[in-house]
């Protein structure tokens, strides 16, 4: 079943075309990796899907319904959550409170504090963050904050998760840990993931399919091993005759 459809989407900033006629479909429960050099339009794409930006052309449909023009909070309640390239924790709130916000205002909009707390504590346990739950978010290490960002997005009860460079800034050990966490989270619930990542090993091992963006256009969409062998991709990344 298709859960997300991106149709001929374009985004202009003044004179700059950041996204130029991008189309793709996302299957439920798949992990679609989005690859491209800096400036290729990846984060812009996430911004468009999550509602922070409005496309200058084209349509985005979630379960058949257009989400163009909706506010980010409305899109969240439909079931799409995202993490940010530069983490945005609620610094002064505790780890648990960060997740509570998501639980109380996300898809399920849980009203009773006890149920919300249980929901959040379950997720924290999955990520092995229970001992951190009363710590102010700003006191966490980068790795901790990245995990928090991920946990918070999951706590919204989302169905489609946009992960924007969750591995950025992590040590190799932390990257391995994060890959496992993402896999485990994906396995434990009906989750579809769109993944932007520069750490290639993690990216290739997690993605079921890979979408390659270049200068705002899609140039390929295939399983990782095919992408790795694709001459066009090679040319873009390594120059001719690689």
């Amino acid at each position: 079943m298709i859960c997300l459809t991106v149709n001929n989407v374009a985004k202009e900033f003044g004179g700059l075309r950041a996204i130029n006629d991008v189309s793709f479909k996302v299957e439920e429960r798949e992990i679609l990796g989005i690859m491209g050099a800096n400036g290729a339009g990846k984060t812009t794409l996430f911004g468009l899907i999550a509602g922070h930006l409005r496309p200058t052309a084209g349509d985005i449909r979630f379960h058949g319904q257009s989400i163009v023009g909706l506010r980010p909070d409305q899109i969240c309640r439909r079931g799409i959550a995202r993490t940010f390239q530069i983490v945005k924790p609620f610094g002064g709130l505790t780890v648990l409170e960060n997740l509570m916000t998501a639980a109380m205002f996300g898809v399920e909009r849980i009203q009773q504090p006890e149920r919300a707390r249980q929901h959040c504590q379950t997720i924290l346990a999955e990520l092995d963050m229970t001992r951190l739950q009363d710590r102010p978010a700003r006191t966490l290490t980068l790795s901790g904050q990245k995990k928090l960002e991920l946990a918070r997005a999951i706590a919204t009860g989302c169905e489609l998760l946009l992960l924007d460079e969750v591995m950025a800034g992590l040590t190799p050990t932390e990257v391995v840990e994060m890959v496992e966490i993402v896999r485990a989270l994906h396995h434990a619930r009906p989750l579809t993931i769109l993944l932007i990542e520069h750490v290639m090993k993690a990216f290739m091992s997690l993605s079921g399919r890979v979408l390659v963006l270049h200068l705002g256009r899609t140039i390929a969409c295939a399983p990782p091993n095919e992408i790795a062998a694709d001459p066009q991709v090679h040319e873009i990344y390594f120059g001719e005759s690689a």
């Binding site: 945005k88 509570m100 916000t101």
Partner: protein
């Protein structure tokens, strides 16, 4: 006892105690008490916006002044209680009307905007009065000091209750979240613009009514007095001194400053202003989280060490 009840009980006790004051104290004490309660009402209302969302208002007198004007203009034709409620309503409507564009302005720009907005409304009303040919408005038959005291007590209790309820509610949790990071808050489902507006409007209602009641205290109504920036500044200083993230900060700051100004017995408003300015600077530099905030961090650290 539920947590909310536990938090309200001390305040109920305080209110009951305060209610006995006019029967046991003389005019002077009642006067001081009335002023203290007025500042409490104003500061607790202010905190609903500025402490909870982080959108600091240094122009909150605009609601006070509007309320004052509404009552002064209408109290001869309406029952007093209705006029006072109308004051709160007009204030809230004003907040509703300007809130959306005003709250789009971020950080320090919002702060100076609130000041400019208050001055704008002040001068607009002055121009309006001039247009209508009204030089001044005299007030005859103003209510007694006991009436005003009880009105202030009621408003202070209402403002504190409002603050407590907001603070403990889901709405309050959302406000605290958007204070930390608006973009992230929106991405986890909080309708940020709408919630900011609610906080703004809530913070306007009671100051409008306070202004309405206080407007009747002097024998004539002066627009510049009703919109005096000192009022805005005092609220901010009281909140900064108290600090913290709940209802006790404003109480502490209000009591501290009221006692200080009575002790100093300053007749010269300018000296008082200088001291306010100095206090503001001192606290901004040395204790920006306020005394209650300092205490909370100290208490939490002590608890952490004991574990």
């Amino acid at each position: 006892m539920t947590p909310v009840a536990k938090e309200i009980v001390p305040w109920i006790v305080l209110s009951l105690a305060a209610a006995t004051l006019p029967s046991i104290g003389g005019d002077y004490i009642v006067g001081v008490g009335m002023v203290l309660l007025m500042w409490l009402a104003l500061t607790q209302s202010w905190a609903i916006l500025s402490s909870m969302t982080g959108y600091v208002s240094i122009g909150h007198v605009v609601f006070y002044g509007l309320g004052s004007y509404v009552v002064v203009v209408s109290w001869q034709s309406l029952p007093l209680a209705v006029a006072i409620i109308a004051a709160g309503l007009v204030s809230a409507l004003f907040a509703l009307a300007v809130g959306m564009p005003v709250l789009r302005v971020r950080g320090p720009y919002f702060v100076i905007l609130t000041f400019g907005l208050a001055e704008l409304v002040k001068f607009a009303i002055i121009a309006l009065e001039a247009r209508m040919g009204i030089a001044s408005r005299l007030i005859f038959g103003a209510p007694s000091i006991q009436f005003i005291y009880y009105a202030m007590l009621l408003l202070a209790a209402a403002a504190t209750l409002m603050h407590i309820v907001v603070h403990r509610s889901r709405f309050g949790h959302a406000l605290r979240s958007l204070r930390e990071n608006e973009v992230a808050a929106e991405s986890v489902g909080i309708p940020v613009a709408r919630y900011k507006l609610y906080a703004y409007v809530l913070s306007a209602v009671i100051p409008g009514m306070v202004g309405g009641v206080m407007g009747l205290r002097s024998t004539y109504f002066e627009v510049t007095q009703a919109f005096d920036p000192t009022i805005s500044l005092t609220i901010v200083v009281m909140a900064v001194i108290g600090g913290g993230d709940g209802v006790y900060g404003p109480l502490f700051g209000v009591v501290f400053l009221t006692v200080l100004s009575e002790v100093l017995w300053t007749r010269a408003p300018q000296l008082y202003m200088v001291i306010l300015g100095l206090l503001l600077i001192l606290f901004m530099l040395k204790c920006p989280e306020g005394l209650i905030g300092r205490y909370t961090t100290w208490a939490a650290a002590r608890e952490g060490k004991q574990r």
